[in-house]
């Protein structure tokens, strides 16, 4: 397990992200309403650079013919085929088994770190 410094708090404003290269891997770091999350910049479907996709909300699980918009800024949508992934867990919204790889983050003294490896 290794900690990699990726940015200072404040360098990634709410609702934005950066993409960093760590151990040859492209990783996106997102500020979701003040919390930080890191995902592999690689869609599990066909390998698109998922961090080029929009960050958005979506229609949440509902009753038939109800539309409830929510989770604003918590979803990244793949730029190619539109699959939705939960930035907080990496899980796709259609199956728990389909997920983009996510990495734990730590903040120490205003510095953001990504944990890579076990």
């Amino acid at each position: 397990m290794a900690l990699y410094p990726v940015a200072l708090e404040g360098e990634i404003p709410v609702g934005t992200n950066i993409v960093v290269e760590i151990e040859g891997r492209s990783i996106g770091v997102y500020n979701v309403n003040g919390e930080y999350f890191a995902i592999h910049n690689y869609c599990p479907h066909q390998g698109a650079e998922i961090c080029k996709g929009p960050v958005c909300g979506t229609n949440m699980e509902s009753e038939v013919y109800q539309f409830i918009y929510g989770r604003d800024q918590e979803i990244v949508r793949c730029p190619w085929h539109g699959w939705e992934f939960d930035l907080k867990t990496g899980k796709s919204l259609f199956s728990d088994k389909v997920r983009v790889r996510s990495y734990p983050m730590q903040i120490q003294d205003g510095q953001l770190f990504i944990t890579v490896g076990k």
Binding site: H45, V64, F67, G82, W83, L93
Partner: protein
């Protein structure tokens, strides 16, 4: 007789014909009897279809010795179908009744269905313990149709609700939901049967309009079923009515797996259009839908049919049907030859026994 010929058969598509155009008159009240008279009997004979099969739509060896029309003599049906093919139950679907949904007058269509259902119970179901019936409803007025389901479904020999494939709109849409609510309330599967696609007030039988002849019309029937099926799933019918079951009758079988692949793939990207779906579309189809076998597809290489069956839950979703006495009859001892005995047993009778609670 080998073991397979002894397998019991539940035939999920048997057509009980009318003796004459006036069969329903004793069951119609005077308002509608006079209407029916003005319409030459008022039955949707031939389904009102703008096509005619050049070889007719009946088997040529099925004329009863009694002189009654093909399919209209219960005794001959027993002799020609029930006994030789070891039919434990025959699910009677009417011959053309459900085509009344193509009529413009919703109240006339509903009255004809009420008369037919009373006639079915009085004149067919008592003829043999093997006869079970589908009650017919007209789709123009779903509230009235739901009332008819409530009225007829409690009869012990009624096992399902029949509507036609032809429609003015896809069946998943909310306009039709009272019918599905009534089916669920009465524990009745809904059986969709083709026959009048493109006639009367219905939309054209294909997405590009009217094909020229019966050959094309019949071959394109799966188009209608594809649209209805996708609509049922995406409109959330199976979320709203979790015990509701649908049988797609006589519309082919092998088109299903590729359609579901396509639907699942699109859902992964577009699920926000249908946020009420909690599982992949194909999972709803597997749990809520059945298909009758006839007319089974006959690829040049029979192994290809087996491969198609492996691509979906065929052994649990298929229900045998012969379509007796129509021209494209399937023989239960012939169509499933390449399948293991247990698969045959399920398709020939066990799936239908569970679905229709026989």
């Amino acid at each position: 007789m080998n073991q397979e010929e002894k397998l019991p058969v539940i035939d999920c598509d048997v057509h009980n014909g009318f003796r004459s155009n006036h069969d329903l008159f004793p069951y119609l009240d005077d308002t509608w009897k006079s209407q029916a008279l003005l319409r030459g009997g008022g039955l949707p004979l031939g389904g009102g279809l703008p096509y005619a099969s050049p070889i007719g739509n009946k088997r040529k060896d099925a004329n009863p010795p009694s002189g009654l029309p093909v399919g209209a003599d219960p005794d001959y049906m027993i002799k020609q179908l029930i006994e030789p093919f070891n039919v434990e139950y025959a699910i009677l679907c009417s011959d053309s009744m459900i085509a009344v949904s193509s009529f413009a007058d919703a109240d006339y269509a509903a009255a004809m269905c009420r008369a037919y259902n009373d006639y079915l119970i009085a004149e067919w179901l008592p003829k043999s313990p093997t006869f079970k019936g589908l009650l017919c409803i007209a789709t123009q007025d779903p509230i009235q149709a739901a009332r008819e389901i409530d009225r007829i479904a409690p009869h012990p020999d009624i096992v399902g609700v029949s509507i036609i494939g032809g429609s003015r709109m896809p069946y998943g849409q909310r306009f039709f939901h009272p019918i599905y609510e009534a089916c669920q309330r009465n524990d009745m599967p809904l059986v969709i049967h083709p026959g009048a696609e493109g006639s009367g007030i219905f939309n054209p039988p294909t997405a590009v309009g009217y094909v020229s002849n019966y050959l094309e019309w019949h071959s394109c029937l799966p188009q209608t079923y594809m649209a209805h099926l996708v609509s049922f799933v995406c409109e959330g019918v199976f979320e709203k009515y979790p015990d509701f079951k649908v049988v797609l009758s006589e519309g082919g079988v092998t088109w299903l797996p590729p359609l579901l692949w396509r639907l699942d793939k699109n859902f992964k990207a577009l699920r926000a259009s249908t946020p009420w779906l909690k599982r992949l579309p194909s999972e709803y189809v597997r749990d809520h839908c059945f298909m009758t076998t006839q007319p089974i597809e006959e690829p040049d290489n029979p192994k290809h049919l087996k491969m198609m069956f492996e691509m979906f839950d065929a052994e649990n979703m298929l229900l045998f049907s012969s379509d007796y006495p129509h021209w494209d009859f399937d023989d239960p001892t012939k169509i499933l030859k390449q399948f293991p005995l247990e698969t045959k047993r399920k398709i020939l009778s066990e799936n239908a026994r569970a679905l229709f609670k026989l």
